[in-house]
Amino acid sequence: MLTTSDACCSAAVQQSAFLRLRFDDRGNRRLMCGDDCSDGSAGMLELKEVSRRINGVDHLAGISMRIESGVMNVLLGPARAGKTSLMRAMAGLDRPGGGEIWFNGVNVTGVGVAKRNVAMVYQQFINYPGWTVRENIASPLKVKRTPAAEIESEVQRVAELLRLTPYLERKPLELSGGQQQRVAMARAIVKKAGLVLLDEPLANLDYKLREELRAELPKLFADSGAVVVYATTEPLEALLLGGMTATMSEGRVTQFGPSHQVYRVPADLITAETYSDPPLNVFSVTAAARPARFPGAATLAVRPHHVRLSPKSGEADAYAATVLSMETNGSETFVHLRVGDARWVMLTHGVHAFEVGAALTVHVESGDVMSFDSAGRALALSARAA
């Protein structure tokens, strides 16, 4: 008995890394390399029909996607769309009810987070309050028993990257919110995790700080080889982070692709609505009143900045509207309109003043209109994908 298992073991040990991983997966399910991507090679996370159902409600409904390292992968959707549930499943915090999760060619379904090398950053600034910033950043390395000199140089490097060097001897709670969140991110970076999950990390920060960190984030993780997933409720944030976007709604990923493409050529109405701020202007059309240009359309939609005060080209439809209210941010005016039974928002450049209740004619270029069938699927994909 003993001899057989010994032989089996030594044989396996002498096999290639590939076989070794398979063996470990079958035996101890411990990842020898798996998530550990400190060598900077590319990583890939693959979800196969991942689902999770709690009390009859689908928190995740059959999600399949391949997420690669090198770009930001944004999960975009309103609260309770399933972003956090999906991240928890990716991390191994929750075991999915069905489906499989593969990381770098290894099936990690059901492997707990403790056995994986995963870093998470939350909306709340989570640091060890009793330790200095230096000790906080060093903590993942101490756990790995990294030599002291190496820890020191690594902490210096990452602190420099995140502009935390002047605060290394302070406690996290003495820092501003933005700095606290930087410390949390520094911990995620030194960990050299193969999978980095950022769950609305900027949501509790001031507007300007958010702008600043948002520009830095993609650069921070770009060369690490880690698969980076970022959850947000804000369409603008998803666009500005670049990379890929998966729009989520009610536990489903409605579309996954390059961010600008998902924004400009949404596959269905839900995706278009999810990826729109200010909200999309949606109007249903009956067969009788349907413009001939949109055969089979049940719903038409147009983005607020494509609703214009004057026609841009010959091929524009005019709509009669009533002004409900106005908002300006100094450079643009958001005009809330009533068009037929629907509420629209028109976004115009410059500050305009209209009387509330005033009648207005607005114009929509047919090239700007998105059309959807009765099931909400996109029909003629808009040609303007510039």
Binding site: P78, A79, R80, S176, G177, D206, Y207, K208, L209, E211, A215, T233, E234, P235, L236, L239, L240, G242, S259, H260, Y263, R264, E273, D277, P278, P279, R303, H305, L324, S325, M326, E327, T328, N329, G330, S331, F334, H336, V345, L347, V351, V356, R384, A386
Partner: protein, 359 residues
């Protein structure tokens, strides 16, 4: 409804303040006109929430007076000031239904049951909670609860002022638009004095007729959204309002032109300056033009925001952001020029009035 005057307000949280640095509010003199919609805008720690709580009486200022319609209310407790306040995180009475929550402030003031019922129904509609009116508040989601908080703030029609402390923090972007429109609508119809605290420029500018920009315990500028955009009085306002913020470049002045290296940018008039002042040129990204002529620059990074794109450029070693409309292409060898309407000169961070610039 009331006009609110803050006179020489100073506030320190620690007892016995000595220097200016000990004060969370250094010196604030500000009038809020009756029926105005105001926003207090600034980064966290600038003192905007302290100021709001001083108006509502939850915080007593270290020095200075608060007047409601000319009457000194500095010593009057919150419950006697007849104001409504909505907090950042939802505050609901768990044991009550949504309807009871909204009726609570009215019942406490012994309004007639008929009036209460009518008013509560109006407000339920306003914050789109009618469908949930008879549900217990306890089981609702965070943004539904925040709508209740908002509704309780709006339900009393006879208040001196309604104060909002970052009320839309926990609300989804889509719902934010809806609620902000409701608030504007309420303001337009009732003309109640409203003061809205936020760090979010979009929220502040879209909500308010007058925005009070605060920085480090002081007010740096008060103005309409267009004022703040077109004529930022301080480099902080230029940086803080607008996304991305204003390009601020170190510069020197030569007559009626600003010199940037060997290039010069014309000004509307020749400014009178002290020799020792630090000079900066400020131009918003919206006024930076990319074309074939002007100051040569290289594109470092492009950001796609959907309806516009932001080009981050390197111009003479300085970072400059330029905004491009959707569909507008950046030239291959970009040169930068500035739209004269958007060129500002700052001396020691404060804007120099050049007369003609920026109408």
């Amino acid at each position: 409804m009331a006009r609110i005057d803050l006179q020489n307000i100073r506030h320190a949280y620690a007892p016995d303040p000595k220097s200016d640095a000990d004060y969370a509010l250094k010196r604030v003199d500000q009038a809020f006109d009756d029926g105005g919609a105001y926003a207090l805008l600034g980064p966290s720690g600038c003192g905007k929430t302290s100021l709001l709580n001083i108006i509502s009486g939850l915080v007593a200022p270290t020095a200075g007076r608060v007047l409601f319609n000319g009457e000194d209310v500095t010593a009057r407790p919150t419950e006697k000031r007849n104001i409504a306040q909505v907090f950042q995180f939802p505050v609901v009475y768990d044991s009550m239904t949504v309807r009871e929550n909204l009726a609570f402030p009215l019942r406490n003031r012994r309004k007639k049951p008929d009036d209460i019922a009518r008013r509560v129904n109006e407000v339920l509609d306003l914050v789109s909670l009618t469908a949930l009116a008879d549900r217990r508040a306890r089981g609702l989601t965070a943004d539904e609860k925040q709508k209740i908080s908002l509704g309780r703030g709006l339900v009393r029609s006879d208040v001196n002022a309604i104060l909002f402390d970052e009320p839309l923090t926990v609300v989804d972007p889509q719902v934010k638009w809806e609620l902000r429109a409701s608030l504007r609508d309420v303001h337009r119809r009732t003309r109640t004095t409203m003061v809205y605290v936020t760090h979010d420029q979009t929220e502040a500018l879209t909500f308010a007729d007058k925005v009070v920009v605060m920085y480090d315990g002081e007010i740096v500028q008060v103005g309409s959204p267009a004022d703040l955009f077109d004529r930022p009085q301080h480099t902080f306002v230029g940086h803080f309002i607008g996304s991305p913020g204003m390009n601020i470049m170190p510069a020197s002045v030569d007559g009626a032109a600003v010199r940037l290296g060997e290039h010069s940018v014309p000004l509307a008039s020749a400014p009178r300056l002290d020799a020792l002042q630090k000079l900066q040129l400020g131009v918003r990204p919206e006024f930076v033009r990319l074309s074939a002529t002007g100051i040569p620059a290289t594109i470092v990074r492009m950001e796609d925001a959907g309806r516009y794109r932001v080009a981050h450029l390197d111009m003479l070693g300085m970072p400059v952001a330029a905004m491009l409309r959707e569909g507008e292409a950046a030239p291959a060898a970009p040169h930068i020029s500035f739209d004269p309407a958007g060129v500002h000169l700052y001396a020691d961070s404060w804007r120099v009035d050049l007369g003609g610039a920026a109408q």
